[in-house]
């Protein structure tokens, strides 16, 4: 254990005295930022993609949108997120002349686009779980398909899929650990910096793992809580 004492002291020197904690805090902030904004983008994008999937397909425009949505989802689900990140940052960013966008923002956008594909599948299930009578009720009073979808169907769908969205958030949090591939600074970069300070990696990486576990456990607890709340509100309103 004496050995561990040495490692701990090395860590604590790097963490407290050499400003490591600042790196960790800003890394944590970036990790959370990418996951939270990424999920927000994912929900908006995923909702639009899901609507394109479930829309009635009589006319040409819905057919085209449906094809686009299919292709989009197939692409993002069919390639590893690391590849999407690398292609997005090192291929598309220069090709499209978007060099002004920094690494962090690029990561947020790419994670958002990736999440959109997964959320669209979740959202499609959510929309299909809503009684078709809800759409009919809206259409019967003269509301358009899209208005009924946004005001009536989607809110109920989201309520049904909250737990799955929570799981998607957990997946995102974990996936963000690859953003250093394109130079964004997350938790991993922060702890690598601390370890490199005196080439002691055992304690930093152990603590990094703990932080991830704590984050995931906290989100899990939050999901459980909202699930119970929703169940309760359903019950009390039916009594």
């Amino acid at each position: 254990m004496g050995n561990f004492q040495v490692k701990w002291e090395a860590f604590s020197r790097a963490f407290f005295d050499n400003g490591g904690y600042k790196e960790v805090l800003s890394g944590l902030q970036n990790t959370v930022l990418i996951a939270v904004i990424g999920l927000a983008i994912g929900i908006v994008l995923g909702t639009l993609l899901a609507i394109a999937e479930v829309m009635p397909q009589y006319k040409t425009l819905p057919k085209i949108l449906n094809k686009i949505s299919h292709t989009y989802v197939a692409f993002f689900r069919g390639t590893p997120i690391v590849v999407q990140l690398l292609v997005g940052y090192f291929v598309l960013r220069p090709l499209l002349g978007l060099q002004t966008i920094n690494a962090l923002t690029s990561c947020i956008i790419i994670f958002g686009m990736n999440s959109g594909a997964y959320v669209s599948e979740i959202m499609r299930g959510g929309i299909n779980s809503v009684d078709p009578g809800q759409m009919e009720g809206g259409r019967s009073v003269g509301l358009s398909y899209s208005t009924t979808m946004l005001k009536i169907v989607i809110p109920q769908a989201i309520k049904n899929i909250l737990p799955s969205l929570g799981n998607e958030f957990i997946a995102l949090i974990k996936d963000t650990s690859i953003v250093s591939f394109v130079g964004a600074k997350d938790l991993y970069v922060a702890f690598k910096y601390i370890g490199t300070n005196n080439y002691e990696f055992m304690v930093p990486y152990l603590i990094m793992a703990l932080i991830y576990i704590v984050m995931v456990l906290m989100i899990t607890a939050l999901i459980k809580l909202t699930e119970r709340r929703l169940k309760k509100s359903d019950r009390s309103s039916e009594s």
Partner: protein, 264 residues
């Protein structure tokens, strides 16, 4: 008011409505009866194009609304529809259920008017703010709720209402759009027996007020008492139609005689 011309409807090449023509005049109360699967619901749902007719015309206020190029939403605002399973918005309170469509549609209209005014067109109508529209519609919704004696349920969610209460709210939700005609698809079939009366009572009131109504129902008493014309449908066709007295006293076709002998 509604002229149905050679209406046909197929579901995946199965013909459910076979060349139906009839006219529903202003103020009429048309009751549709017939065996299960005869196409009553499909016919009713074609009247406001909830089902798109496969062929034929639905002429409402002079416009063929079966034409895919018309803006069906505008015409549906003038045709109320009441469903067997109520179809109230589960995520909205009773008050919101009633106000949602009128508020939304008027806000859209005001936006359009404002745009036209900006483009320099003369607008005769008053342009209301969203707040004014909400105030106006809230007042109207509360009046409607008072009419059905459910004002204390304004802030309740549909899940907490009884079936009869839900259906009465669904009816006034349609009324909030000031429709010219109301379509009912078995409005009392999903209700416990003790709640059928309150819904039929409200429908009778509407009838008395002069509302044009098309009602699919198994309530023969309602057909007799309220109907101005009764239609018997079987196998996707109108087999017989007549005034209620004649219809029930002197059925002509064998199929109607057979049907009445079973249900009466």
């Amino acid at each position: 008011m509604i002229e149905v011309v050679n209406l046909k409807k197929s579901f995946n090449s199965v013909e459910v409505l076979k060349d139906i023509s009839t006219t529903i005049n202003e103020g009429e109360k048309v009751v549709i009866i017939g065996p299960s699967g005869s196409g009553k619901s499909t016919f009713l749902r074609c009247l406001n194009c909830m089902e798109d007719p496969t062929d034929g015309k639905i002429i409402f206020d002079g416009v063929d609304i079966a034409d895919m190029n018309v803006d069906i939403n505008v015409h549906r605002q003038k045709m109320g529809m009441v469903f067997q399973h109520f179809n109230l918005f589960n995520n909205k309170t009773v008050l919101e259920n009633i106000m949602l469509a009128p508020v939304h549609i008027q806000c859209q209209k005001m936006k359009k008017l404002k745009k036209q005014k900006l483009l320099g067109k003369d607008i005769n109508e008053d342009i209301l703010t969203k707040k004014q529209i909400i105030e106006k519609e809230k007042k109207r919704a509360m009046e409607l709720l008072e009419r059905i004696d459910l004002q204390d349920k304004a802030d309740a969610y549909p899940a907490s209402l009884s079936g009869g209460q839900k259906q009465r709210v669904a009816i006034v939700r349609s009324l909030a759009m000031n429709p010219e005609v109301m379509l009912f698809d078995e409005p009392t079939s999903a209700l416990d027996p003790e709640m059928v009366g309150e819904v039929l009572e409200l429908m009778k009131e509407l009838a008395k007020d002069g509302m044009t109504m098309v009602v699919v129902t198994h309530e023969m008493g309602f057909a007799r008492e309220v109907g101005s014309r009764v239609i018997f449908m079987d196998e996707g066709k109108i087999v017989e139609e007549n005034t209620p007295d004649e219809f029930f006293a002197n059925p002509k076709s064998d199929r109607l005689k057979d049907f009445l002998s079973k249900v009466l």
